[in-house]
């Protein structure tokens, strides 16, 4: 019965081939290497991390106390430093998303115009995305240098300002300063994705709006933005996810300081484990980060899937 059903279900375009017999088991064999890699390298470490968050581990060996305790979680959730790190992470992500989407949208609108030299402008604008993270961190550190940095030199030109801000060591400025670097690094990506979205909006819509006498602003709010809804959701989620995991900029430029002003969760987890050797709390904070990341990943999958079925 089952075999007969399968035979009729086979593609009618060609006769039964040798390959058709293979098709029943072959895909399962073919996905094995990656399936095993994902299980061994991603699912097992994530689970292992959760397990360790429930123990007293010292990161020194595999040994940890038997049994489970929620002590790490109790300590972490009661610690104001943890909530500060959580808050900093949210601000860092929100700032990156706001800046990245705003600049990305502006760039995409410009690149969507037809002008001489568009290819060159496109390539130039992608540059930040092409530069390694560590290199970017060092360039900006040099530009932010309070005494010899080019940014303070530029500020000196501005009227009414004669301060020379210490961008990375002033508690009020440090977070904004690292956010700016992250915006610089990510907005080209946002721009290219949004540009791809702009090019799917049919020009019939704009022509219709023209006939109805809609101005550029109305066309933007009533056609462009709704047409970009899906693409913007993707960009916002990806930038949020990447900001949550972004380690290099803060670690190299401010080490989480000054006074915890840029101490995002990933950086705090790193220091907790490798500077203070408190692995238990580090894993517990990791579990919280994992929970947030899972929500974001599920949201991202849902958005991508909705886009496919539209």
């Amino acid at each position: 019965m089952a075999v007969a059903a399968m035979t009729t279900a086979a593609p009618a375009r060609r006769g039964r081939t040798y390959a058709d017999d293979q098709d029943r088991w072959l895909p399962h064999v073919l996905i094995l290497p990656v399936a095993l890699a994902v299980i061994a390298f991603i699912l097992v470490p994530l689970g292992w991390g959760l397990r360790l968050s429930l123990t007293d581990t010292k990161l020194i060996g595999m040994e940890f106390t038997d049994g489970f305790s929620l002590r790490n979680y109790a300590a972490v959730l009661a610690s104001p430093a943890f909530w500060q790190a959580f808050w900093v992470t949210l601000l860092y992500s929100a700032g990156t998303v706001a800046g990245g989407v705003a600049l990305g949208l502006a760039t995409a609108l410009v690149l969507n115009l037809d002008f001489w030299g568009r290819g060159v402008v496109r390539t130039l604008i992608i540059l930040p995305w092409a530069i390694p993270h560590v290199v970017a961190a060092l360039i900006w550190q040099w530009m932010y240098n309070p005494d010899y940095g080019v940014i303070n030199y530029a500020i000196g030109w501005l009227p009414f300002i004669d301060a020379a801000p210490n961008w990375l060591s002033d508690p009020d400025l440090a977070l904004v300063s690292v956010i700016l670097v992250n915006v610089w690094k990510t907005f080209p990506f946002a721009a290219l994705i949004i540009l791809a979205g702009l090019q799917t909006i049919s020009d019939d819509m704009y022509e219709a709006a023209d006939m109805d006498g809609a101005g550029p602003f109305r066309r933007f709010t009533d056609i462009t933005l709704p047409g970009l809804r899906h693409v913007l959701a993707i960009v916002i989620l990806l930038l949020t996810i990447w900001s949550f995991g972004n380690f290099v900029f803060i670690f190299l430029m401010t080490q989480g300081g000054p006074a915890g002003a840029t101490n995002a969760l990933v950086v705090k987890i790193y220091f907790e484990a490798f500077k203070f050797f408190r692995a238990g709390p580090a894993f517990a904070m990791g579990a919280v980060l994992l929970a947030v990341s899972t929500v974001l990943a599920v949201a991202y999958l849902a958005v991508v899937r909705r886009g496919r079925h539209d």
Partner: protein, 288 residues
């Protein structure tokens, strides 16, 4: 519907004033994007005596020198870091593409139980902050004696590059019409034979792009390297360059020279690749 018409439509009724505003905005965006890159290069060729002068010169000085480049190679282990990174990055990229190719083909060509789940897992696994994998891996690697070892680092990079390579390659296989394989299959060839004789040669550009993308990510990676590698002779370019960060007196011309050396090869590759990447990274998220 031509590209041109779509592109021009939103701003069809631009007045001169608006055109000027748009041009100004475009120039500002370009300046923002390019200036740090420009500043890296200008700093690297500035005579070191002029580095800490005020005001800084925006244009390259007439007596530009390449001394910083030879000095950084002489005074640091930059050559060794480059070699370490080449080893780790090519190793990772090669293995990732090999492991990913067959699975990506299966995901592209077959419908089978668990396919949706596999695809979801692959995509989701790219969404977790690296530190969530790195911490538990550190514990395991320590027990296995894989810390402070470039082979161990390669293994760790595979953890997040195999899913990336699989997703990208699936996209490339999707773009090859199955009809090209039909003739071979009707002739009685096996699936795998068809894959190796027909599909794989046709996807060489895709394989190359995936390989290069993995190469770039491994070259760029910092967190795992920082956690897993100790001895300076095992440093990769990220680690080596980062060792200059926050130093009390930083020879910025030399640091920027090292930065240029580290950036140029990958940046050039990247600019060639980015068209593919936008498609691959959103994994079908953007229609069209």
């Amino acid at each position: 519907m031509t590209d041109r018409a779509v592109a021009a439509a939103p701003f069809a009724a631009l007045s001169w004033l608006r055109l000027a505003a748009v041009a100004l905005g475009a120039a500002a965006l370009c300046l923002f994007a390019v200036f740090p890159f420009y500043w890296m290069i200008v700093t690297s060729i500035r005579p070191s005596g002029q580095l800490f002068s005020y005001p800084p010169q925006i244009l390259p000085s007439a007596d530009s020198v390449f001394a910083a480049y030879s000095e950084i190679f002489a005074s640091s282990e930059l050559a060794l870091w480059l070699w370490n990174s080449v080893k780790v990055a090519t190793g990772t990229a090669t293995i990732a593409v090999f492991v990913a190719a067959l699975t990506a083909y299966a995901l592209s060509r077959f419908d089978f139980r668990g396919k949706t789940l596999t695809e979801a897992l692959l995509l989701a696994s790219q969404m977790f902050p690296g530190i969530l994998l790195a911490l538990p891996m550190y514990v395991v690697f320590k027990a296995l004696g894989l810390l402070d070892d470039l082979a161990g680092l390669t293994l760790a990079y595979l953890a997040f590059l195999i899913p990336v390579a699989t997703t990208l390659l699936k996209g490339f296989f999707d773009s090859i019409p199955p009809a090209l394989e039909e003739a071979s299959l009707v002739d009685g060839a096996s699936r795998l034979g068809t894959f190796f004789r027909i599909t794989l040669p046709l996807s060489l550009p895709g394989l190359a792009a995936t390989f290069l993308f993995c190469l770039i990510i491994a070259w760029d990676e910092f967190l795992f390297a920082r956690m897993f590698i100790q001895r300076p002779e095992n440093w990769t370019v990220s680690l080596g360059l980062s060792s200059f960060s926050g130093e009390f007196v930083t020879p910025w011309d030399q640091v920027m020279a090292a930065a240029v050396v580290i950036t140029l090869p990958v940046a050039i590759v990247f600019l060639f690749l980015q068209r593919y990447l936008v498609r691959g990274l959103t994994a079908g998220g953007v229609k069209g």
